[in-house]
Point group: C2
């Protein structure tokens, strides 16, 4: 890849942006938001989402420099290469996963010419397996020993095999098939599994166990617990368990699982929602037609991400606005605030996707980075957040850039007109009010009622949160994260930073069950100090 | 209060700490964690919790300076004054709420001499009302028209009336009375209420509506929706609704509510969990005896918070370690990571409590602060987080101080030995491993497998998460936040920063339902740009 990119801090655009950042657009000046048609000019639209960024501290000059930066660093070129199967999960000259990055291929199913036909072919094959499986469940060909239909699915996974699927399920809950329910177990905390087991009727439950390697500690522990529960209830777990795993993994075993669905090593956990990791569970809950809408939404956004013009390329624009705030205006965090209760786990998914991808300190050439990489990403749904941490967003000493997400219509159509407006109106009025208040601020004679403003934010809007828009929103953030990683010249697809903790956990466990091969002073001392042995 | 405090940046301790921060304790040096008995010396114990801080970048000199800082700034003195009824919710010389701060009085029920007898007397009176109410529910004196017992409570509130109670309920779920269930509605998003209404049997449901002012927009909207649902089901809502509100508020109305429980203006929303705001719901779910354990745990920690020695005063020590990391080592955020699925909403509650309290820029004298105040607080339960954002914690360019929370025993006693250890063992082994890995780091020839270490963290440990320890943990953080506010010389008890958004939301709503009294260009332009009118 070396020929494709340039050290971003060594470009003319970077230097001009540094200069411009000394005096960024002042959102608190009179009419700052409405002059020059800013509110309507600073909108990026796609078929289902629009991005409103008039409340960012940018002007036409900054945007032109960001465009140059994207061009000089070949961001579009790298994205296109990724979709076409380039080996991008690597660090040059050092041991690394050295893999392709092809989560986009899982949804590249709607054109005659997919960018990477082999991977999209594999995705299509797995989807056919899901289709057959769902038809058999629907028609009663696949049922329990008492010939009753399966109504419930317990999804077991952790990290990328949990947060992504879970947040999509929560987001799309109102669209579920009649009578179907899904529960999730992820934590190694035994109370997590026990809590779910209390709620389900095991006889009518399918268990979907998701682990690419087939060896994930937490997932196997939870699988063991739930298999035991089946056995204790006089049921045969192999007639209830499904596997989503890599081909040939220890879990790819027809004797233990009713069905196996495959994922491939070119799909990273945190980017795996649109693979079998999410599709099996979502298919059971939503039916395959709605899952295809979800994949279509994601695929549409992947196409948008190849547009070379940043004003038309929503993920790239979002990425560059983020870089402007993080690297030039020096904001260390990013808040994602959905004005939709259904998206209550979406920030947690993005937290993983973004922070695990871009929380890195080494370039793709194995050199230390010299600029900040990924921010701390956090968030909660509005308007709850307004009654919680928004105080700091408005008046705190840390500047927190915000990405708001809103919808014109509710999901259920149950809404009530109170004082002349619906709850959905109130939700949107609050979203707009926060965006404007953060940007413009307000002066007061009472210093405690003074709002400094100039708190940068964007609004992502859609008509309704449904499978299609959810797919687009997911892919928007996936591509945004990837673009930022390309610019920072880091490998956004590995996670070496989680290894040391795993190794040390293993050592502590050996001490805890008395199997230590040799005394290790540090671990023993820690265990004694915490009174754990 | 002016006589009680000193500008913290104008103390000798502050200057020495600045000096010491240039070369903080190096946790990556050989044996850095075990020498000088550090692991056992750097523990602060109370009856039910212990705080392990050997993995912070402090040494005896720093701790001595932090003690001096606490002394010079009169932190204990201020805390004691707060508990005894001093007017602390104020900004000198400017309009402000000008109130006492007496959330501690709600649980100061276990000594002959409460710090503020009048407020504790009011708390006791309300608890007696809860006791009577619960007995009547239990004995069937209070039941529905069909003489069936109430089994379900829907708790409606937002912000402090939601996050605190909800996170405590989730934490203590396994301790519930047989057959009782609780649901929560908070968001103005109409889908939030619709989702809950699908799950409950209204005939056997009590609705607990919580609003101090009795005028909170979101809560009233949700109350209207749920009252409508009762009426539509042929039920009389006044026989199902309870109110928790200020005495004399619009909601303090026996014609509309079965019972009213009172809170007082000396209790801020985010500090109100141990008042009626949390106690009515927790009483229904846990029974009063367990709620009293919860209050006892909180009260115990309040006593600890008056100990002048920082090494014995857990909340003060936690506060000062936080200030060391935030103001001297310049970490902008704080992660709270509980190794317990039951605490999955506790970070969200702390996020509110901390960021709404200390996200301020004006001193108690109305002058601009000259140091950073409250950090961005965020977190998710481990070990899920390990598979998500921990990558950035270990190898990112932002240093994130961490507060881990762990328990030696699980809540349900359902656990399985796999590979010689239980799931609870695995959970704790992971917690310890993360703490040590962040502190010591590890060098590698592969730059991508290099861990820089020196990532400061603490562990808060207890035997089990139960009502008593939960009460202590809650009060630990409440007092920590208050101590930091005292040191930064800000008012941790108001929330002027949420007002501007409310005003603007009202204006947008007027435009949206066509009731605008005069055209306002900005709002109209925003609504048109977002295609909302």
């Amino acid at each position: 890849m070396e020929s494709d990119w340039k050290d971003w801090q060594n470009t003319g655009a970077y230097r001009r942006l540094l200069e411009l950042a000394r005096n960024p657009y002042d959102l608190t000046a009179p009419d700052a938001l409405i002059k020059d048609g800013r509110l309507t000019r600073y909108i990026c639209r796609t078929d289902v989402l629009s991005l409103h960024y008039a409340t960012q501290r940018v002007d036409d000059q900054v945007l032109a420099c960001l465009q140059e930066l994207a061009d000089e660093c070949g961001l579009i070129h790298q994205f296109a290469a990724m979709r076409r199967g380039a080996v991008m999960n690597s660090i040059a000259g050092f041991a690394s996963e050295n893999r392709q990055v092809l989560h986009t291929a899982c949804r590249d199913l709607f054109s005659d010419k997919p960018a990477e036909p082999a991977a999209s072919g594999q995705a299509r094959k797995e989807i056919e397996k899901v289709k057959t499986f769902l038809e058999e469940v629907e028609k009663g060909k696949l049922c329990n020993k008492q010939k009753e239909a399966f109504t419930t699915m317990v999804h077991i996974g952790i990290g990328g095999s949990d947060l992504g699927p879970r947040s999509m399920f929560e987001a799309l809950r109102p669209f579920g098939l009649q009578g179907r329910e899904v529960f999730f177990i992820s934590n190694v905390d035994p109370d997590d599994a026990a809590g779910v087991l209390r709620k389900v009727d095991l006889r009518r439950t399918l268990v979907n166990i998701v682990s690419k390697s087939g060896t994930t500690l937490e997932t196997l522990a939870n699988e063991t617990i739930i298999r035991r529960a089946f056995t204790d209830a006089g049921l045969d777990p192999s007639l209830h368990c499904l596997a989503v795993t890599g081909e040939g993994s220890p879990m790819d075993n027809p004797e233990k699982y009713l069905r196996s669905f495959h994922m491939y090593d070119y799909i990273g956990g945190r980017y795996s929602v649109t693979s079998m990791v999410g599709v099996v569970m979502l298919g059971f809950y939503l039916g395959l037609d709605q899952v295809m809408d979800f994949l279509r939404g994601a695929s549409m956004m992947d196409m948008v991400a190849e547009n070379p013009h940043i004003k038309e390329n929503m993920p790239l624009l979002l990425a560059l606005l983020g870089v402007w705030n993080h690297n030039f205006l020096e904001a260390p965090t990013l808040a994602v605030l959905p004005y939709s209760q259904a998206l209550h786990r979406f920030p947690a998914h993005l937290q993983q996707c973004d922070m695990e991808s871009n929380g890195k300190s080494v370039t793709r050439q194995g050199r230390p980075v010299s600029a900040k990489t990924g921010p701390v990403l956090w968030g909660e749904p509005g308007t709850n957040g307004q009654h919680a941490f928004y105080q700091l967003l408005h008046q705190g000493t840390e500047i927190v850039p915000v990405e708001f997400i809103g919808f014109r219509k509710s999901q259920y159509s149950e809404d009530l007109v109170i004082d002349g407006t619906t709850s959905q109106h109130k939700l949107l009025a609050n979203l707009l009010a926060q965006s404007v208040a953060m940007a413009t601020g307000q002066t007061s004679d009472n210093p405690n009622r003074n709002f400094p403003g100039n708190r940068p934010n964007s609004i992502i809007l859609a008509d309704q949160l449904n499978p299609l828009t959810m797919g687009a929103l997911l892919a928007l953030y996936e591509a945004k994260i990837v673009f930022q990683g390309f610019l920072w010249d880091i490998n956004s697809f590995d996670q070496e930073g989680v290894q040391l903790g795993k190794v040390l956990a293993g050592r502590f466990l050996k001490h805890m069950n008395g199997r230590k091969t040799q005394a290790n002073t540090l671990e023993m001392a820690v265990l004694q100090a915490t009174k754990l042995i």
